[in-house]
Symmetry: C2
Subunit: 490 residues, 2 copies
């Protein structure tokens, strides 16, 4: 099989798109900007979901479900929020089709116009806070710690599979608290949950920080974020957690009585990650042969490919493969024996490389005679011959090792591509090569905007671990107390 | 606490609605016809999902995700299909809001009108078969066995929580096959999966059958269904599985080449169950005290309520409760120790009855002295005093017993309310008392329609196990070969 992907170093965007499609992760649908998530891609997303869901529940959250539609009037109640989302939303105006009078097909029935238009949710703060109003009277009703797994729609003009699509899948947490401190702590807790999930499961190192005012979520007082660095040197926001203050409680009149009988508005957070994480996953580890999957996310962790001529040879290999498969399953390894006779071994090898299966065992007649198998590792592409009887005892360690090694490699890449920059000239030059630039900024939205205009770089975050350090803004020369992280971003 | 529900025997519809709301399962939202599924209700749905998902995967299916929007033109390609759904669909016509010129808020931006309207999916056959066209060339690409967990929208005019809502959650399987026989077998397999799931997990006995032509899914050649009988004598369709023939393959031009090189259209099935099952669950087992949950679906299977005066007494009870809780958890029981001091034991008792927790243990000072606890069973409302040390060893058996007993009780009810009816007079009289009526029908849509008009009864199904039996149609007197099942239905 010829290499099916554009080369990563020649055309990163094309390589990415080729990979997503050819590895059977997702594809564009007939609906502008909406993707089809194919079974292989969806299986990876399901693993992410189930791990995240466990973490949410362990931190005291419950799932619920709120309507997909938001009445236009709700949407307008929080001024910043509507400003942030009104320009990119799908609007439902009618509730019926009818046969065209000229027999040309179905048309919208103008008699079935909604009194008030409905917005397909781009995010659910407004509909949820409208609901919380009836759930909260007293401090006894707080906190509310709810998460929702859902689809949302933002009418993006330029879309890319997983990274930016009109419809995407996500989870959105929406919590309500009696005090500011508790809400801030919740937002910080969820940032930690996201960071640990992305680092432990996706094997992607992240920078934890807060957004500048102009990069905040529409309606938030503080946006916490995790930022990851992709192989092409561009940053990707992998998750956000917002402290919303009392903005939504005020907009939707959600009040509670505390122990002393005092009435106050409720404090809020919201937080989310989406199928965008699939994009981050792909762009952190993969290569010109295709996807490279951290073992914890791999639907198949090890594949056994028989090398044989004729049914008889396959029949001698089969019991060996099945015994090995059972041993591995007993140890919790997700294993597949690919005995399809519709495809040749070489085709299968390429396919499993393309789909990022972490380990591959080739099992042939000669191996059997020698009591060995050929074991190939997807991340390093190394092959080794190992005694058949040692395989089962080796695989779990090896999978852990690969998981660890992918994280370390990505961390080395991130560190090698993070630079402290102290002059505008250096900034302008460096930004062309990508990576994170750690630099002083005077704290004004004007400077931030100008830097963005001149270099396409944005402030990804003010890192949580940023040390106090007196310096001068690289752009304006005005005083600054800490460095922030710039990058061009997805 | 006063009884909070309308009486089931006095106003069934009100009792149902009260129960759904007061047991914290769901409530109406600010969006017409759309519900909020509350955490307690959603936790039950999640358990259904996860059990069904396992059954789907065990029968070879994979999950995927397709767009929520369907271009109007796709929708029209299968004639019966559009006829069936066009009258109740949400239509997206615009993709942007803007500030009103008079400053009155946001309005739809008329410049952002879609060239082609998008329908919010009421079901996904059309968008999925448009996608399958590119996935299938050869018999090697078949079968495709895909399921989707998703939200769908049908613009119902009269809605009821869980039973009939404008938006609901469901799963929809969509499979593609090389032969008619294989597709029929798939549809039958999935009917079996649904029937086993509903009987084993929801503890609801079902009748398996096929729909008459007029009750078929829009676009299907055969609709298989499971029908359950609710406590008020009305039937509820709990799941359907459709053999779609080549209708959608023809509408979307999906062809494949078989082993011999012959080109043919692909054969299809689709099948789904929805949050409607929550309605079936509630209406099969619950009583005037609230929800009765089969233990397999109960988020909390056993609750321990401490009976105490003052912190000191609670402190002596706590270690006993915690030890018991740990023992039960080790045995896989989902258990909660409710030591909240914001509510009195009596309030808690009522609340757990309302929410259908299968077992409740009251643990007080006197019990401790006697080495016993009071164990209350939700389904029978029986209380017994049992030695503390025997509790852990008893609970699993008891939960199984309750699960079994709920099913048997529902089965007795179903049998007691299924009647063979051989005359029109008897039919008209019997139907008023509810239940399934097993009667001869002449096989014509006209008779079916007239019976419906005169009695509000529909043919729920032609049972799969219906025996050949010569008889006369109860309405027309024309010859009939087998009995069918009539009922008034949700």
């Amino acid at each position: 099989m010829a290499k099916v992907l554009a080369k990563r170093e020649e055309d990163y965007a094309q390589w990415y798109n080729d990979l997503v499609v050819k590895a059977d992760l997702a594809e564009n649908s007939g609906v502008r900007g909406c993707m089809v998530i194919k079974p292989y891609g969806y299986a990876i997303w399901e693993t992410m979901q189930s791990d995240l869901d466990r973490r949410f529940k362990e931190t005291g959250h419950q799932n619920a479900y709120f309507p997909i539609f938001i009445p236009k009037s709700y949407f307008s109640k929080e001024a910043d929020h509507v400003e942030g989302f009104a320009k990119e939303c799908a609007v439902v105006t009618h509730y019926r089709l009818k046969n065209a009078e000229d027999g040309s097909g179905v048309v919208v029935d103008e008699d079935a116009r909604l009194e008030e238009e409905l917005i397909v949710r781009p995010t659910s703060e407004t509909i949820i806070w409208d609901t919380y109003r009836n759930w909260v009277q007293s401090y006894r009703d707080l906190p509310i710690l709810i998460n929702q797994w859902a689809n949302v729609v933002r009418w993006e003009m330029r879309t890319r599979l997983f990274l930016r699509t009109a419809e995407f899948l996500w989870q959105e947490g929406h919590t309500a608290h009696a005090t500011q401190a508790e809400a801030v702590q919740e937002a910080e807790t969820m940032l930690r949950v996201y960071a640990e999930f992305v680092e432990e499961i996706l094997a992607i190192p992240v920078i934890r920080g807060i957004k500048t005012e102009s990069e905040r979520f529409a309606g938030a007082l503080e946006t916490y974020c995790i930022e990851a660095l992709m192989q092409d040197g561009k940053a990707l926001q992998a998750g956000t957690s917002h402290f919303l203050g009392q903005n939504f409680a005020k907009a939707f009149d959600v009040k509670f009585q505390d122990k002393e009988g005092k009435v106050d508005h409720v404090w809020a957070t919201s937080w989310g990650v989406s199928t965008r994480l699939m994009g981050a996953l792909i762009m952190s580890h993969s290569d010109n042969n295709g996807l490279v999957l951290p073992p914890l996310l791999a639907p198949t962790q090890l594949v056994i490919v028989p090398i044989y001529r004729g049914q008889e040879e396959l029949d001698t290999l089969r019991p060996v493969a099945e015994k090995l498969m059972n041993e591995l399953r007993d140890r919790g390894v997700r294993v597949r024996f690919d005995d399809r006779d519709t495809h040749k071994p070489g085709w299968k090898f390429n396919q499993y490389e393309l789909q990022g299966v972490p380990l591959r065992i080739a099992l042939g007649k000669r191996d059997l005679e020698n009591g060995t198998v050929e074991l190939a590792r997807r991340d390093t592409l190394e092959k080794s011959s190992i005694p058949l009887e040692e395989v089962a005892g080796t695989v779990n360690d090896l999978l852990e090792q690969i998981q660890q090694s992918l994280f370390e490699k990505a961390l080395r890449f991130q560190k090698a591509n993070t630079h402290r920059v102290d002059s505008w000239e250096e900034f302008v030059e460096r930004i062309e090569q990508g990576g994170f630039l750690s630099a002083h900024w005077d704290g004004t939205a004007e400077t931030e905007e100008r830097i963005k205009k001149e270099t396409k770089a944005t402030i990804r975050c003010i890192p949580l671990n940023a040390e106090e350090e007196n310096g001068k803004c690289i752009y304006s020369g005005n005083p600054s107390q800490r460095r922030v992280l710039f990058a061009r971003a997805y």
